[in-house]
């Protein structure tokens, strides 16, 4: 039948896509069958990850130290979430009057990025750059004296190759200081001047817009000055705006028009990931206390390796029981159901490998649920086929009728489940999102299996379908 050929081609195409996604390079080192799953990222609970411990440096005399630790926790959570580390966990720990923050991050390969993200205090301020050097000014007594004379300080740029002399009070005016402003929005955007570079565009919170406007007015240099004679240009060089984060100069430049809307950009040849992380730091605000790294280590699965092994064994026993049950109850149709289970599993793991979504225990729950739905769909169809055969139809005709009748049954049942899962995805965080993802992908693949591939397989084995004429359904 032509329609069966279309079904076969569609099913095989999806299967090939999933297997290709699983076999792409870049997974964990593995051998044999495990290679198939090496690209699927596992969460902390299943495979462990990196554990960073920081001491929270709380100044003496702070009234409520535990509130400071809570604030640190919230800032870090926002930072990790907006940089995409939604599966990371943060714990507070207390010992001997010291407070600690423990950050655990799955997928151990990129700790440096994570450390940068967590370790940054995130304190952003704006200043006036009045001079610059290309070698360390701190070892040159003249430069040190210059700083004292000007009431300014030397700061390195983020690559440590240039140093700028920066005043916190713009033109020595005490009312023109902008330190640690709240940022209402910060996003990585493509640099319109550079090629394939990213900048971070930020918007200051409303209460800081006025100060920022006055600062940029004060430092405003008309463009023609920049192109004109040297004396004027030398004066303008002392009026450059500096953006400093974590005591590192992020940006120094001329203000060519006063900024009235509190919007600005930090440029610096960022890659997308760097820009994303910087934006996350800006958005989440400054940490209320400094963090001092105490230990970095790798941790084994949080659920316990022994627990996981046991559960895996139990899961396999359960799956085998399901398969035996299907074989006993539905004979050759049971084989189609078993093929279906493997088919759906490959599609789900292919999707996880292809998208880099992280699999955690709730994600596995979603997969188990999918298999349940798939078997359920099979049973709905098979019971229908049995009914139709008992009512006197030929096997081929019974399969046709059963599929056309079951289509909307399964469509409605599965779509309602997907709707519920979509809401979970929207409202959930971390592992709950993970559950929603595997459920949505799983139900789609189960639906595809049941409505497309199963039909082809059942037509192919229709000669072998035997049904008792009595008993069972009405």
């Amino acid at each position: 039948m032509r329609s069966d050929r279309v079904r076969l081609i569609l099913s095989l195409a999806l299967l090939v896509a999933a297997v290709v996604a699983m076999l792409l390079p870049g997974g964990r080192p593995a051998s044999g069958l495990a290679k198939l799953f090496s690209r699927v990222k596992l969460g902390l609970d299943l495979s462990g990850g990196v554990r960073l411990e920081y001491r929270v440096d709380i100044e003496k005399g702070v009234e409520n130290p535990s509130a400071v630790v809570d604030d640190v926790w919230t800032v870090l959570r926002n930072r990790l979430d907006s940089a995409g580390y939604t599966e990371a966990v943060i714990r507070k720990s207390f010992r001997e009057n010291n407070s600690f923050i423990i950050v655990e991050i799955p997928d151990a390969t990129d700790t440096t990025a994570a450390e940068k993200l967590v370790g940054s205090t995130g304190l952003l301020w704006f200043g006036q750059a009045i001079d610059e050097r290309t070698s360390d000014p701190m070892i040159n007594p003249d430069d040190v004296n210059l700083a004292t004379r000007e009431g300014a300080q030397w700061y390195p740029d983020k690559d440590g190759k240039k140093w700028y002399l920066i005043k916190k009070e713009i033109n020595n005016r005490k009312d023109l200081v902008l330190s640690g402003p709240r940022i209402s929005e910060a996003v990585p955007t493509i640099d319109q001047k550079g090629v394939a570079n990213y900048v971070v565009s930020f918007t200051l919170d409303r209460q800081f817009v006025e100060v920022f406007k006055n600062i940029t007015k004060e430092l405003y240099v008309p463009e023609q000055v920049l192109n004109s004679g040297t004396t004027q240009y030398q004066i303008a060089l002392k009026k450059r705006l500096a953006i400093v984060l974590d005591d590192k100069v992020q940006f120094v430049g001329f203000v060519v028009s006063p900024i009235e809307d509190g919007k600005g950009q930090i440029r610096g040849n960022f890659t997308f990931d760097e820009a994303k992380e910087l934006a996350a730091i800006l958005r989440s605000g400054a940490l209320p206390a400094r963090l001092e790294k105490t230990t970095a280590s790798l941790v084994s699965p949080l659920l316990g390796k022994d627990v996981l092994d046991q559960s895996l064994r139990a899961g396999i026993i359960g799956a085998v029981l399901v398969m035996v049950y299907m074989l006993v109850f539905y004979g050759i149709m049971g084989i189609v159901a078993i093929i279906g289970i493997f088919y759906a599993l490959i599609i789900i793991f292919g999707f996880l490998a292809g998208t880099g979504a992280i699999l955690t225990l709730p994600g596995i729950a979603g997969i188990i649920f999918t298999i349940g739905t798939l078997v359920d769909g099979n049973i709905v169809i098979y019971e229908r086929i049995k009914e139709e055969i008992r009512s006197g139809k030929t096997t081929k005709a019974a399969i046709e009728v059963a599929f056309s009748r079951s289509f909307w049954t399964l469509f409605d049942a599965n779509l309602t489940t997907i709707i519920a899962a979509l809401f979970l995805y929207y409202f959930g965080t971390g592992t709950i999102k993970g559950f929603a993802v595997t459920t949505i992908v799983g139900i789609f693949s189960a639906m595809f299996m049941n409505l497309v591939f199963s039909k082809f397989l059942l037509d192919a084995v229709s000669a072998g379908i035997r049904v008792r004429k009595t008993g069972g359904a009405q």
Binding site: V89, S297, S300, W408, D412, T416
Partner: protein, 298 residues
């Protein structure tokens, strides 16, 4: 053979009301046994030069104190220290009321000594840690629940009739409350795995209910003008085999998990096992009576 499910519906409704009432009472009196993922606990870091696995550590310490049986044990590879093995053992000690408590200094010294003996290891630190799972469910607020239920209600109402939507949502709420009730009554640990089971139950319950509804819709159209109660009863009778088969297959898997797993997975298996039974029951005995009551014909 036809069973009169519909005729006995008031008994089942009464049973469900009792179960829900008992569950609600337990929520407010007994409460839940939250796991250390939520409430935190005390973390002991031990170092040993012996080559041990997590399973061996668990076996050796599980009888030291009741809370050690449910300890979370993780192997930690401190970067740069290869010869020694480090384990993090997190336990959640409780007071008589079942609330988390903090060990006294004496207790810490005593437990440290016991653990050092049992493992032939050195306790490096012993301090309090917070839970980390609260963040996972911070957005699962009433708003999220209401929107999810509304989403289901609207879809089912559009595809079937309004009363079917109400039936599906009632059955769902019924299932979640009763399953939570079992968690509360039996003092099973509420952790992320338990939340996962509850979420799975939501999908399972809805799926199951819709399959029964679909048959009612089909029979209702086929036998126009017939009494709704008898249409529903025939529908239930004709899908009961598939319902039993589906439930049994899922039941096998989760029962195996319940029997053979330990730790936090047990909460998942418990929730699923109860959920499958309650979800199947409600799709037949709770969702359908709503339809009989409200829908005269299709």
């Amino acid at each position: 053979m036809k069973i009169d499910f519909v005729g006995k519906r008031y008994y089942f409704i009464a049973l469900s009301i009792v179960l829900i009432a008992v569950s609600l009472i337990s929520f407010f009196t007994k409460g839940f046994n939250f796991g250390l993922e939520f409430i935190g606990g005390s973390e002991m870091v031990v170092k040993t030069s012996q080559n041990m696995t997590v399973a061996q550590v668990r076996e050796k310490i599980s009888s030291l104190a009741p809370e050690f049986a449910k300890a979370r044990i993780i192997e930690v590879h401190a970067l740069g220290q290869a010869e020694e093995k480090t384990f993090s053992i997190v336990v959640a000690p409780r007071d008589e009321k079942g609330n988390l408590r903090v060990y006294s200094a004496d207790e810490k010294a005593e437990l440290s000594q016991k653990v050092e003996q049992a493992l032939n290891a050195k306790v490096v630190s012993f301090n309090e840690v917070s839970g980390d799972a609260a963040n996972e469910i911070k957005n699962l607020t009433w708003k999220a629940v209401v929107f999810t239920l509304l989403g289901i209600l609207v879809y089912v109402a559009l595809r079937f009739k309004f009363a079917f939507g109400v039936g599906a949502v009632l059955a769902l709420v019924h299932d979640v409350i009763i399953t939570l009730g079992f968690f509360s009554i039996f003092g099973i640990e509420m952790n992320i795995a338990a939340i996962a089971a509850l979420l799975t139950l939501v999908g399972y319950s809805v799926n199951d209910t819709i399959i029964v509804f679909d048959r009612i819709r089909e029979f209702g159209r086929k036998f126009k003008g017939r009494d709704m109660a008898s249409v529903v009863n025939d529908s239930i009778n004709s899908v009961i085999i598939r319902t039993i088969n589906t439930s049994l297959t899922t039941f096998f898997t989760v029962l195996m998990l319940l029997l053979f797993s330990t730790g936090s997975i047990k909460s998942f298996a418990f929730g699923m096992t109860i959920g499958v039974v309650v979800g199947t029951y409600s799709s037949i005995f709770i969702a359908s009576p709503v339809v009989i009551k409200w829908v005269k014909s299709l």
